[in-house]
């Protein structure tokens, strides 16, 4: 066991982690931040995506100790300071980009990482970027729409003819 300290959603947080404790377990079990989900345990579904030092990371592929001293942001820290939904969150709600919601935190975090690097992605770029995020419910249509909308683009033409 070692003590691990990281800045999570702007606050310094400390907890205990074994060498093999995954970041996702640390967030969920040590810090009780259960918005980051575990969908596959094997780095394929993207339900556990968080940002570490500004980069999207699958939290089930990283050890908690590797994130010692890092800036971590999770779904719980995405809303605006006044508690209102941020643009991406609002777009997921407005464009029905979720059903069971289990993939949603990972989708929102991936979308935020995409839009940071590419503020106006094309539909195809969104599709390619989200390859590592599985959604079993929605068929992705409304997720792509939500991200188009969040980047200020017209959604009426998404995958329509």
């Amino acid at each position: 066991m070692a003590t691990v300290t990281m800045t999570v959603n702007g606050k310094s947080r400390t907890g205990e982690a074994e060498g093999r404790t995954l970041l996702v377990s640390f967030l969920r079990e040590e810090l009780n931040l259960t918005g980051t989900h575990v969908g596959c345990d094997t780095s394929q579904c993207g339900a556990c995506v968080v940002h570490v030092n500004g980069e999207a990371v699958k939290a089930c592929t990283m050890f908690a100790q590797e994130a010692d001293g890092a800036e971590v942001s999770t779904i719980e820290g995405q809303a605006n300071a006044d508690g209102s939904l941020n643009t991406i969150q609002q777009a997921f709600q407005d464009h029905h980009g979720l059903q069971c919601g289990f993939c949603t935190p990972g989708m929102v975090m991936s979308a935020a990482a995409l839009l940071k690097d590419n503020p106006k992605p094309s539909e195809q770029e969104i599709r390619n970027y989200l390859q590592g995020n599985i959604c079993r419910c929605t068929g992705y249509h409304n997720i792509v729409k939500a991200i188009m909308a969040a980047s200020g683009q017209d959604v009426s033409a998404v995958a329509a003819e």
Partner: protein, 803 residues
């Protein structure tokens, strides 16, 4: 009115901020124990020795339980009591739980579970459909058979016939949230269980049996699942019972979640099928005779396989009238995971059979498959007299049964058979089809998506291109709505109006992402004429609404919407009677709208009206109950009206295939789907889009592979390919077909959970069309149409059957 509005999912703000709680997110007391199963390494064997010393000695392990340690029943089956929680000396599939590790953490429990030394005496295992047929290994005494019409006369009329066989793979649910349960021991031996389940009453029943207590000592709660798709109808029983037993034995809370790998190895999947067929059309292209042999691989335990196989038989006609037909169903017992409910519940498999027949016949006739399909649709509905609603005799079953399970057996008198309106075409099981919109809906889709122009374009493309071939197919869906076990078609609700005007709503349905809670809340708000914000949606709880059926068979909003409406109407009637008396008005004139109660000329704001009623000592709480009218079904004879109504839809899919590799993709999909008068078009369209993609995934990329020892080799998303975001068709047009339900469902809506899944069949048929463009022979494409299967089919198209 809040109904019919495209409102977002009620929990959307919670989901996008990470606050929505699933079972694994519920804060647990510090002394909570974590569980894992040790599982069988052989498909069929006797356990000759079980050495658990190393497991017990592993760090963090508190206890290890075997079947002998269980306090009461050792059974998690939803039907035939043939599924022990922990194996009793014999194992029947690779992945079957043998012992239960109780540890201080999830990881400690899983690691310890690997340390057992199990000695097996292996026995021959039956793994495939052929193995089981050869050994006559089956559920029920023999095959079930439904027949109708004069087959010999039908064959005599046949001008063109085809014969063939199609293999249809199973499907892993891959609900993104794996199975999970948490048991919290209470005073006096009572138990509270949080379970990720579509069927809380079933969990309550099985936990009560496992603890040896009556059902009133167990309360089950579920706020939401991270997807269910049928995979949480019975497959959560083992986890809930394991947690409850450990909580009982240790006095500590117990939690269990399957890792994805365990989930895929242990739990059941969609049934795989082989369908052998023979079919004939007359000189006009009308079906005259069809025979199906459906061979259904059920796995090691009965679970829900009988009603699944029944539903496959009930959808062997899809949208087509077949005057003479035989459908034979073999329910085969093998030493593999016990196949279970999965969206469509056998319906999709049955439907693929007849769609394959249409495709094959069209190839034989050299005509466009769509033309043949349209010729054979059931006649349009709407011109028959309304049927009288007859009372249906309740069926009774033995007390041993879990009566609320779809696996229960109706042992009473067969239900009364409902009369068929004069002149109506009937299904092979004798139900009149009086609501068909297949003709109109398909014509509209053809128009909208330019079927004719695109058919010509595909032909042109294929004439000009040697390597990339395109294919196009339009397939219809007609899906029967109701549980086929008639008595399950009932639902309860509990509604409270508090003195401040806020409303608390509860019903027996469960939320798995489909938006049921929002739809039903919209019903409640509409009933009271208040804004939706007044209605609080609450977790499903067996302590509030008892004896619920699974949220399954697409029946969630139909049944629970009606039950909630009944409860609301009861409270409204009491308020109306009271206010009418106070205000000297006629109670029949009292109206609830615009967040107010209108009594004569007076407009009383809702909150004030409620407060007055409370002070006037009016009860502001009511239960509601609903049972579906007019249905009856004799599953042994295959006769009756199992379905209240049918939901319709059609999809047109265009694909392209690389004939050198078999790689393929969807280019464009157009869908029209009948959701009746939709309760919430946005949620319904979401169901259609998601259902289509899941159905297309089943038939294209999702391949389950067992090796020759019976081990599932595709037990993670690395090897089991679920559609990803980039697999979605670049053009995807989905619209609802406005079609008020002719039956009096809640606001004339139609169920929408399962039917769109079968729109995915158009993807398989489009791929078949592209393969057929490669050569003169019928490609006989197998499902799932993986690149390998596509390549084989292209070979057959070029060289004939021997290719």
């Amino acid at each position: 009115m809040s109904v019919a509005k495209p409102l977002p999912h009620d929990a959307a703000p919670l989901h996008v901020t990470g606050q929505a709680r699933y079972v694994d997110d519920i804060p647990t007391p510090a002394n909570t124990l974590h569980l894992a199963f040790g599982t069988s390494a052989h498909a069929r064997a006797s356990i000759t020795a079980l050495d658990l010393a190393a497991v017990r000695a592993a760090p963090g392990v508190i206890a290890v339980l075997t079947a002998d340690d269980l306090p009461a029943a050792n059974d998690v089956s939803p039907s035939a009591h043939d599924e022990p929680l922990l194996a009793e000396g014999e194992v029947y599939y690779i992945g079957q739980p043998i012992f239960l590790v109780v540890a201080t953490s999830h990881l400690a429990a899983r690691k310890a579970a690997r340390l057992a030394t199990v000695t097996y005496a292996e026995k021959p295992a039956l793994l495939t459909i052929d193995d089981a047929m050869a050994a006559n290994s089956r559920f029920e005494d023999g095959p079930r058979e439904y027949t109708r019409g004069d087959l010999a006369a039908g064959w005599a009329q046949a001008a063109t016939t085809v014969e063939g066989s199609i293999e249809l793979g199973g499907q892993e649910h891959f609900y993104l949230e794996g199975q999970a349960a948490l048991a919290l021991p209470q005073e006096g031996g009572d138990m509270v269980v949080h379970s990720s389940t579509q069927h809380p009453t079933e969990i309550q029943h099985k936990v009560a049996e496992a603890l040896g207590v009556p059902m009133n000592a167990v309360r089950v709660e579920i706020r939401r699942m991270g997807g269910g798709f049928g995979g949480k109808e019975s497959q959560g029983n083992a986890l809930a019972c394991a947690c409850a037993v450990v909580a009982r034995l240790t006095g500590r809370p117990a939690k269990m979640r399957y890792d994805r790998d365990d989930d895929m190895m242990i739990t059941g999947k969609r049934h795989d099928f082989r369908i052998d067929y023979r079919a004939g059309v007359d000189a006009q292209g009308k079906l005259v005779a069809v025979e199906f042999d459906q061979l259904c691989r059920c796995g090691w335990a009965q679970d829900l396989s009988l009603p699944v196989a029944d539903r496959a038989m009930l959808h062997a006609d899809n949208a087509y009238f077949i005057p003479a037909v035989r459908i034979t169903s073999h329910r085969l017992k093998t030493h593999t995971q016990s196949a279970t409910a999965y969206r469509g519940f056998g319906g999709p498999q049955g439907m693929v059979g007849i769609e394959r027949v249409m495709d094959h016949l069209a190839a034989e006739l050299g005509c466009d498959p769509l033309v043949l399909r349209q010729k054979n649709f059931y006649a349009s509905g709407g011109r028959y007299l309304e049927q009288e609603n007859e009372q249906v005799a309740p069926s009774t079953a033995g007390v041993e049964e879990d009566l609320t399970s779809r696996g229960a057996v109706a042992t009473g008198e067969p239900d009364k058979v409902v009369a068929v309106p004069v002149g109506a075409q009937t299904t092979p099981y004798g139900q009149a089809v009086v609501d068909s919109v297949a003709h109109e809906l398909v014509a509209a889709l053809c128009e909208k998506a330019d079927y004719a122009g695109r058919r010509a374009a595909v032909e042109r493309w294929n004439a000009e291109n040697a390597v990339l071939k395109r294919g196009l197919a339009l397939t219809p869906v007609k899906f029967g709505i109701s549980f086929t076990l008639t008595h399950l078609n009932q639902a309860g609700a509990l509604v409270h109006v508090y003195q401040d005007g806020s409303i608390h709503m509860n019903h027996g349905g469960t939320e798995m992402g489909q938006g049921l809670f929002q739809k039903v809340a919209q019903v409640a708000a509409s009933r009271f004429g208040v804004p939706l914000e007044r209605v609080k949606i609450t977790a499903t709880d067996t302590g509030k609404v008892p004896n619920t059926s699974a949220t399954a068979a697409s029946s969630g909003s139909d049944l629970n919407g009606m039950a909630v409406a009944a409860a609301c109407d009861e409270i409204k009637a009491r308020i109306a009677a009271f206010l009418a008396e106070v205000h000297q008005a006629d109670p029949a004139e009292v109206r609830f709208e615009g967040d107010a109660v209108l009594v004569g000329a007076d407009v009383i704001p809702w909150e004030k009206a409620v407060a007055e009623a409370y002070v006037g000592r009016v009860s502001l709480s009511a239960t509601g109950f609903y049972k579906t009218p007019s249905i009856s079904w004799d599953r042994i004879k295959g006769e009756g009206r199992p379905f209240f109504y049918f939901a319709y839809g059609a999809a047109l899919t265009e694909v392209v295939v690389d004939t050198l590799t078999g790689e393929n993709r969807m280019l464009r999909v157009d869908i029209l789907h009948d959701a009746g008068t939709s309760l919430n078009p946005a949620l319904d369209i979401g169901q259609v889009e998601g259902g289509f993609i899941q159905g297309a995934g089943w038939l294209t990329t999702e391949e389950l592979v067992w090796d020759n020892t019976g081990r599932l080799t595709t037990h993670a998303p690395s090897t089991y390919k679920i559609p990803a975001c980039s697999d979605r068709p670049p053009v995807f047009n989905v619209a609802l077909w406005p079609n008020a339900n002719r039956e009096p469902t809640i606001y004339r809506s139609k169920a929408v959970g399962e039917p769109p899944f079968m729109l995915g069949i158009s993807a398989l048929m489009a791929l078949s069309d592209a393969c057929a463009a490669c050569g003169p022979h019928y490609p006989a494409l197998e499902a799932p149409a993986t690149a390998e299967h596509v390549l084989e089919a292209i070979g057959r198209a070029r060289a004939g059957e021997s290719g």
